[in-house]
């Protein structure tokens, strides 16, 4: 490696006047000075320097909490589940039990030719009310009405095959009463009247 003439250092550092630079070094000093000026000049297109960009980032105000939250929500993340088989089985059992309980609460599944008959009667003093008719062979005690609100209004909802039925209420096991809310009545040939209910298929 060749050592640089110390006078060239002095000339480039401005410590030696141009006139004092020997003639054989002047050309080299002039080239080095031009190269130094070229390197010091900013590049075309005004691209900010790394330093300026870093400083601009540091000076930018911190993002708000809402923006941070939004960024957290929209950023994709990998989620890892570690499952213990025993807990999985327990969860499956609980899910099945909840499903079965819910399905059972929705009542019976109606067949194509079945419908719903609602029986409602107001018997404020009654201890028990049953509905009997051609749908249960006139067998007292098989379909009980309930007074859940204790307001004297007794109700029962029954699934029956679609068709026409005659019926009566039996109050306290001995008093036979027609359904006064029924739209249809017919003589029972025993001196009283039966109510008529027409059950229409629920699936039409």
């Amino acid at each position: 490696m060749n050592a640089i003439d110390p006078r060239m250092h002095q000339a480039l550092d401005g410590e030696l006047d141009w006139d004092a630079v020997p003639a054989e070094l002047r050309r080299t000093v002039a080239r080095l000075t031009a190269a130094a000026e070229l390197l010091a000049a900013p590049p075309p297109g005004l691209v900010p320097s790394v330093e300026r960009r870093v400083m601009a980032e540091i000076r930018r105000p911190a993002p708000s909490r809402a923006r941070l939250l939004m960024r957290w929500f929209v950023t994709p993340r990998a989620i890892i589940f570690r499952v213990r088989p025993a807990w999985s089985l327990a969860f499956a059992v609980v899910a099945a039990a909840v499903t079965l309980f819910t399905v059972g609460d929705q009542g019976p599944e109606l067949a194509e030719h079945e419908g719903i008959a609602q029986f409602v009667g107001r018997f404020p003093e009654a201890q028990s009310v049953h509905v009997v008719g051609t749908f249960n062979d006139w067998r007292p005690g098989s379909i009980a009405l309930k007074d859940q609100d204790h307001d004297g209004v007794w109700r029962a909802t029954v699934v029956l095959p679609a068709g026409t039925y005659e019926y009566m209420f039996v109050v306290d096991g001995e008093r036979w009463v027609p359904d006064h809310l029924a739209e249809r009545l017919v003589a029972d040939d025993f001196g009283r009247e039966n109510s008529i209910v027409i059950v229409r298929p629920a699936r039409r």
Binding site: G107, T134, W138, V158, R184, F190, R200, P201, R204
Partner: protein
């Protein structure tokens, strides 16, 4: 030939078996004094091709209501007569024997509900093929609310002619009854519903809450 003999034998065996099963249903449910007479009436109905279930039900009803044996027999006899009348009416109106049991009970009901025989015959003839239960109940519902029987039958027959489905004929009578509840006369109600045909308000369907609480009767329905 062999098949015919087998069928005849099966028929001979079926009647006593059916009679036994009917006796089984009646025993303990009606006074024992009434059983022989009721049983013979039921067998008579079966021999004449009439449905026996309405007679069994009438006897069971009498037993449940603790009616005397003689009155139970009389009521069953009356029911048998109504079924015969219903069959005669259906045949007169154009049905070919053997008449369907469901149609017989429908017409018997219509007679018991007070529909005049000529009106029933008109409805049967106008509808032609079964089922006619909904039509008959629709006319009977209107007559029970002081509608003129002929006009009520006209409305239901017109609804069928305009394409209203038979299972929706009860909605026709219900629509007319709603018009009366709104203050119209029976004649006005019929006219209003006739103008609306074949459009009808949608029938109410059972709600989920109703179905949830529903249960089937312990005894199988007939």
């Amino acid at each position: 030939m062999r098949l015919g003999v087998a069928l005849a034998l099966a028929g001979c065996l079926a009647l006593p078996l059916a009679a036994q099963s009917v006796r089984g249903r009646l025993e303990g449910r009606i006074p024992s004094a009434a059983i022989p007479a009721v049983d013979s009436l039921i067998q008579l109905a079966a021999q004449q091709g009439l449905p026996t279930e309405p007679l069994v039900q009438k006897a069971l009803e009498g037993g449940a209501k603790q009616v005397a044996a003689a009155r139970i027999v009389a009521a069953v006899q009356l029911s048998l007569g109504q079924l015969r009348d219903a069959r005669d009416l259906l045949v007169r109106a154009g049905d070919k024997p053997p008449v369907l049991p469901a149609e017989l009970t429908t017409v018997a009901w219509a007679l018991r509900r007070g529909l005049p025989t000529p009106v029933i015959e008109r409805v049967v003839a106008a509808l032609g093929r079964p089922p006619r239960a909904a039509a008959m109940h629709a006319v009977a519902d209107l007559v029970a609310h002081q509608f003129d029987p002929d006009s009520a039958a006209d409305l239901i027959i017109e609804a069928v002619q305009q394409g209203v489905l038979r299972e929706r004929l009860l909605d026709v009578s219900t629509a007319a009854l709603h018009q009366v509840q709104r203050g119209h006369t029976q004649a006005e109600a019929l006219a209003i519903v006739r103008r609306q045909l074949p459009n009808l308000p949608a029938p109410s369907k059972p709600t989920r809450g109703n179905v949830a609480g529903a249960r089937r009767p312990a005894t199988p329905a007939p």
